[in-house]
Amino acid sequence: MGRTTINVYRNLMGSNEKWAERVRRLLGDNGLVMINMIGSPGSGKTTLLEASVNALRERVAFAVLEGDVATLNDAERLHRLGVRVSQLLTDGGCHLQARMVYRALEDLPLEHLDLVIVENVGNLVCPAQFDIGETAKVAVLSVTEGEDKPAKYPMLFREARVVALTKCDLVPHLPFRMDVCLEQIRRINASLPVLQVSALTGDGVGAWIGWLAGLVAEAGKSPPQPACG
């Protein structure tokens, strides 16, 4: 009997990454941009989308992929507003994987779209670990969660291209320290822009829509009209 050690060095994220690459090719072939919205359950991802759809559809043609563990609630909320939305149910799974997203994209009229918005399963850990082939990750953080979350979940804030800091209308009622939160984000990712928004009052929603339209313009498909507030 002898013992042998076999060196393998195999990347275990590899098969998801292959599907993510396929997603990127599909998006590229259709001149599409896709964002991956990641935040805690209840951070206001769906509510921010609800507050955005009317102004957003004047600037870009978009569809939403709703990732959820169970229920069609979020998809129904957006469907009521006339949004083209597909539900991805993970049936207990805590994150979307690239293969699921690829299959869902195949069912969308990609040639008529500029932007696909993926609302990932509410969770700050797992979704940040799985590349789904998105153009940009969006970290959605609400002020009610506390200012220490960026330090607790650094992977998301390292990988995100923007932070949507939601529920900012509540700041006067909370012990939330905005300067501490922004400093925490800066320590994790010094160049990460933070958009302070309130879906309830509409404050900052214009800037969020402008950011999305800018991302689409960057991809060179539908040049946005000049910003109009």
């Binding site: 009997m1 002898g2 013992r3 042998t4 050690t5 076999i6 060196n7 393998v8 060095y9 195999r10 990347n11 275990l12 994220m13 590899g14 098969s15 998801n16 799974g93 805590c94 994150h95 994987q97 850990v125 797992c126 670990q129 799985f130 330090a151 979940y153 650094p154 992977m155 390292r158 800066r186 320590r187 994790i188 990712n189 010094a190 160049s191």
Partner: protein, 122 residues
């Protein structure tokens, strides 16, 4: 809970290695994986998933060794490179925040330790 998804990949990778002809008749003793701290993989969850997913496979009963890889960065301003430990993504040398993460995000099956039957056993 992403440990389960990662472990599915791990077990599939191990079993595909073990199907290679030169592994015939060998018994898998242990497996070594390298996990970057940015992956936020809980070791006990990964071990539990490993035990469950290897049941009734040729990898059943093998030990799982988990090696933690620290976060390493390279400073785009002064060129410093090395490990950081306090989750402040800034260059320890010059303080710049413009750092590239060069390690800590990996999840790698590094090696398999096999017990082989020598020619005398046949």
């Amino acid at each position: 809970m992403h440990e389960l998804a990662v472990c599915q990949e791990l077990v599939a990778a191990i079993l595909s290695e073990m199907r290679r002809p030169d592994f015939a008749g060998a018994h898998l003793r242990s497996v070594r994986v390298r996990v970057g701290v940015l992956r936020q993989i809980e070791h006990e969850s990964l071990r539990f998933a490993y035990e469950v997913l290897t049941q009734d496979t040729p990898a059943a009963g093998s030990a799982l060794e988990i090696v933690t890889a620290p976060v390493s960065v390279r400073c785009r301003v002064c060129g410093w490179s090395g490990e950081i430990h306090d989750r402040i993504f800034a260059c320890p040398a010059c303080g710049a925040g413009d750092v590239e993460v060069t390690g800590g995000g990996e999840v790698i099956l590094e090696s398999l330790e096999l017990e082989c039957n020598g020619p005398d056993d046949h």
